[in-house]
Amino acid sequence: MNTAFSEEDLAFQQEVQAFIKQKYTPELAARAANPKTFKDAQIEWQKILFEQGWIAPNWPAEYGGTGWTPTQSYIFDNERAMAGISDVVPFGLKMVGPVIYTFGNDEQKERFLPAILSSDDWWCQGYSEPGAGSDLAALQTKAVLDGDDYIVNGAKIWTTYAQHADWIFCLVRTDSSGKRQSGISFLLIDMKTPGIEVRPIHTIDNYHSLNEVIFKDVRVPVANRIGEQDAGWTYAKALLAHERVSIAEVANSKRNLAEVKKLAQQEVNGGQTLYSDTAFRSRLAETEIELMALEYTELRVLASVSRGETPGPESSLLKIKGTEIQQAIQELRMQIAGYYCGVLGQDDIGHEFGSAARQAYMYGRAASIYGGSNEVQRNVIARAVLRV
């Protein structure tokens, strides 16, 4: 049992560090941090990764993946997060991409994968529906066959960055006669198709990332259906476990915790820093210890995935614990912000981070709700592990 980096690993780490230092310029970082310029900056960075061949560590090499060992993936992700760089937008690269190369036909692979890798297409996810929530299989959006097209009617909700998207991948109901999980199909839909309306959802973080997407007689070619009609649930489910592994966001939490430490060292109350305040420090240490345990849990799952095992209910554990830790760190940052924890949209007030802390905290409430709420994840573990 060991996790020591080999010489190759150490060399790889240096290569990653050098690459980031060279390519992720302060100027780019500044644009990525600004909501107004975020999308362009993010695409610019993803294209840099694409040119380097590092855009899709989780894909098989034959489709453009890196062929990295789990240790290399771990190193890359760690260095990325520690440099304060956001992960790639997941909808194309981590969600629909794997579905397409696993279940799509050759034509679909040729048509969609290159633009996902090059970040020329921006994807969004159409799973949840108003009224369905964590009960995905209750979905009502209907697709009716009409010649070579489906005609889609219905609505999707909580669609992150739909306002930026070129494509949406959707679960739609093509048959209502059998069990709820059957009769669902997996469609790729061009967002420019007539009949699609994107309505912003204003959220408690006072920011716009979520949307409702309304479909009114939207024609989607049958050629845009993944796999068999009525079998879409299977494809989506295969993806969910993968999604949950990355949802733990250990590397990002490490970075955020390091930032929180730095802020606590600067914030003074009654002549001593918050970092040397025992109550705050013990809360911080408790969170850090949980994160240390989570990090090795993620590594254990990665090690088993690298042996070809499919991530099982452990991925639900990573999701639950990962989001709990993210929220704990957001709370620590809010605590440091003190009187400034509620500042709205202005970063020149008090501690400059107050508004950002608030936004991250409020939006962070969603982490335990979306992607299968933590309650649903506990049900999953209860069934799969406890077999109750």
Partner: protein, 380 residues
């Protein structure tokens, strides 16, 4: 032993309740919060008419002669309605300081204006570096003849944007964090050398950073004796904490109610989610936290009424308890509401954000628990 509000208090409470139910629907509140001043002048005039603005003041100035229990009865209902008008900042903080100031001339001049609704006041006591130590004061007031010359910047001044006047804590002597040497001055905010930067907090209220540059303030505007302002500040902190706790109790009850109602209508997996035992037990926990928070508020209100030595200890405990209960209740409210809890459209997030704002005023849970411990040590 008696845990009932008096008849008068019940009347006050019912009056706020009626207002909230008939004139302060959530969408009305939203449009007020989003307006330029983040308050409704008509509502304020109505508050004056209903007598709410007179509660903490002596009868000789036209006041109701109320105490912290009267205030609590009102604040709980304001919490339920998420009333955004600056009752707390203007009447309780600014008005309370004035009422306790011992400066009869100032009282005579300003209290009637508060009561009739024509004056907006604020209490400017937070500084960039002070965090929760209100004795950490860098703003200076130097005596020059019959005036003080005020220099410094106050931050997160509640009602600071709308205020005509403010009570400002300033150092007239002593070191940066000494309790001695702090003086409270009532400053006209239209004076030369006053500038403001207004901004909003997540609960929708409009606050300000206020900079004072060589602002001349008459020595007649001193609240309490020179250098002895801290005792008034401390009283404002304790009474303000109780008032905020009452508001928080109203919010907590409302959050529990909204959440419970939601679970009874929301269907998932073919049944209303109120039938899920895990959600039931978690809502039992939030119900218990609400009851415990209420008990703690009553404890502080009783020890106030009893003239108990332990009032400060009880207030610190109350504020610490508020932090924990509020966190649990707020988190569960959003979580159980699911995706809907994340939307600005639902009221639940707005209640949570006000609760979080309250948590940070006069110190968070950790801070108040530490004060609790230090009080015990100094009493021992």
């Amino acid at each position: 032993m008696n845990f009932d509000y008096s008849e008068e208090q019940v009347m006050l409470r019912d009056s706020v309740q009626r207002f909230v139910q008939s004139q302060y629907e959530f969408e009305t509140r939203r449009s007020i919060a989003e307006s330029e001043t983040a308050m409704s002048a008509e509502n304020w005039a109505q508050f004056a008419e209903l007598g709410w603005l007179s509660i903490p003041f002596d009868e000789q100035y036209g006041g109701f002669g109320g105490d912290i229990q009267d205030i609590a009865a009102v604040m709980e209902e304001m919490g339920k309605g998420l009333v955004i008008e600056p009752f707390f900042a203007n009447v309780i903080l600014f008005g309370g300081l004035l009422q306790n100031s011992g400066n009869d001339a100032l009282k005579e001049k300003y209290i009637p204006q508060i009561i009739d609704g024509s004056l907006q006041g604020a209490y400017a006591f937070v500084e960039r570096q002070s965090r929760y130590q209100s004795a950490d004061v860098l703003t200076s007031a130097n005596k020059q003849g019959d005036n003080y010359v005020l220099n410094g910047t106050k931050t997160v001044v509640f009602n600071g944007a709308n205020a005509d006047v403010a009570v400002v804590s300033a150092r007239t002597s002593g070191g940066q964090s000494d309790e001695d040497g702090i003086s409270l001055l009532l400053v006209d905010l239209s004076s030369d050398g006053v500038s403001r930067q207004n901004y909003r907090l997540m609960d929708g209220q409009l606050v300000a950073n206020i900079e004072f540059k060589d602002v001349s303030v008459s020595a007649d505007n001193l609240l309490g004796a020179e250098g002895q302002g801290y005792v008034l500040m401390k009283a404002a902190e304790l009474q303000g904490s109780v008032a905020l706790a009452a508001e928080a109790l109203g919010i907590a009850g409302k959050l529990n109610e909204l959440t419970l109602d939601y679970t009874k209508t929301r269907e998932q997996f073919g049944t209303t989610i109120s039938t899920f035992q895990v959600l039931q037990h978690r809502m039992v926990d939030t119900f218990m936290e609400y009851e415990l928070l209420k008990s703690m508020l009553f404890r502080a209100l009783c020890s106030w009424a009893d003239g108990d030595d332990e009032f400060e200890l009880d207030v610190r405990a109350l504020k610490a308890k508020l932090a924990r209960s509020g966190k649990l209740i707020g988190d569960e409210a959003i979580q159980i509401h699911g995706g809907m809890g994340m939307t600005d459209e639902m009221s639940v997030g707005h209640y949570v954000k006000r609760l979080m704002t309250i948590n940070a005023i006069f110190g968070d849970g950790d801070y108040n628990q530490q004060q609790f411990v230090q009080l015990q040590d100094s009493a021992a």
